[in-house]
Subunit: 199 residues, 2 copies
Amino acid sequence: MTHTPPPGRPLRADAERSVRAILAAAERVLAETPGASMEQIAEAAGVTRTTVHRRFANRQALVDALATEAAAKLAEAIEDGRPETAPPLVALHRATANVLRVKAAWSFALGPAVAQSEQAARTHDAIAHRCVDLLARIREQGGIAADADLEWVRRVYYALIGEVMHSTDDAPPADADPDVLAARIVDTLLYGVGPRGTR
Amino acid sequence: MTHTPPPGRPLRADAERSVRAILAAAERVLAETPGASMEQIAEAAGVTRTTVHRRFANRQALVDALATEAAAKLAEAIEDGRPETAPPLVALHRATANVLRVKAAWSFALGPAVAQSEQAARTHDAIAHRCVDLLARIREQGGIAADADLEWVRRVYYALIGEVMHSTDDAPPADADPDVLAARIVDTLLYGVGPRGTR
DNA sequence: ATGACATGCAACAGGCTTGTATCACTTAAT
DNA sequence: ATTAAGTGATACAAGCCTGTTGCATGTCAT
């Protein structure tokens, strides 16, 4: 049999590298051409199509693995903001900047063209919870209106991040500093674009 | 030759209907399965694949036609808000509600999976200008911070609309009233989710 | 009613992808 | 050094989708 997706036992250092190369190449290629063939991915990975199929039975299996890994990276990015312990607004800012970095590096796997696997979906759910928890802390502290619907807030937050991603494609690198962008996102989220009477 | 995309002269009432049916079916089918085949589209339109090819040489030509028509509907939706003459905030609200309706009906053609044709791209550019003009009027009037970057404002506005679209998929129809949603969008755009000291 | 236009049906060629199978050869592991 | 694992090259079967053609039949326009 050629397809052995669930590695019963540890892969050889050799194969491990191949898997990595394939996943990285898949992200690169699919980000630019979502409908790219296995052949194109294999070529970009410096590997034969046969090898790709040896490591990932289906195209689906490959995409799933990609989505799962990216989701893990995303969770890590948020955790690095210390959402539980740091002052909530600081955590939000840090998490946002980290997420922007991760999203830029995994724009396909985290993009809308991917039907999340079970595994990845669970991670994304967990992330959403963490996010709402953090927003709740900000609300307790008065940073968010007491009567705000946190689910709506979260979605607006996600939308702002997504919007910023679009623009960093063709922007001068100076404008692409994650910290600057994160500041803009958080500010817009909290205060909108209206006049600044109080603040 | 079977492919006659650019109808030199008016189509027969017969063919006209086919074209409409095909476009409508394409929107319906592709919205659910972006990779659907011509066959599936034809079937949904109550027509043979041959006929589809008779009216649209390529799959691309079909998608382009779809994108062009949807773009026109979108422009119309905004124009119906009277962006030039009505009080700017009223126009923004009305245009937003109209756009939500149109976007719901053309979620594929106006979605991210479509590479806009020349024609459609021009229309979208024109719409963006109209949008910025309207935002400028709101700013003059004090509804938007004097130092706000209108291009950023426009993008946030688009993002909020896009976010609302996501959620109307699986929402109770009560929560899907365009006017309610539009109010939420405009409010969030202007004031964010932070505490409401002034306002 | 008659001619032009439009559609359905059937069929075909070509192309591109996927998944699988050998087999000889290279590479890591102990 | 020997063995097991991994890879490249090549090949094949199968499936699907596209684009086109021919013809018989149905429908609109006048």
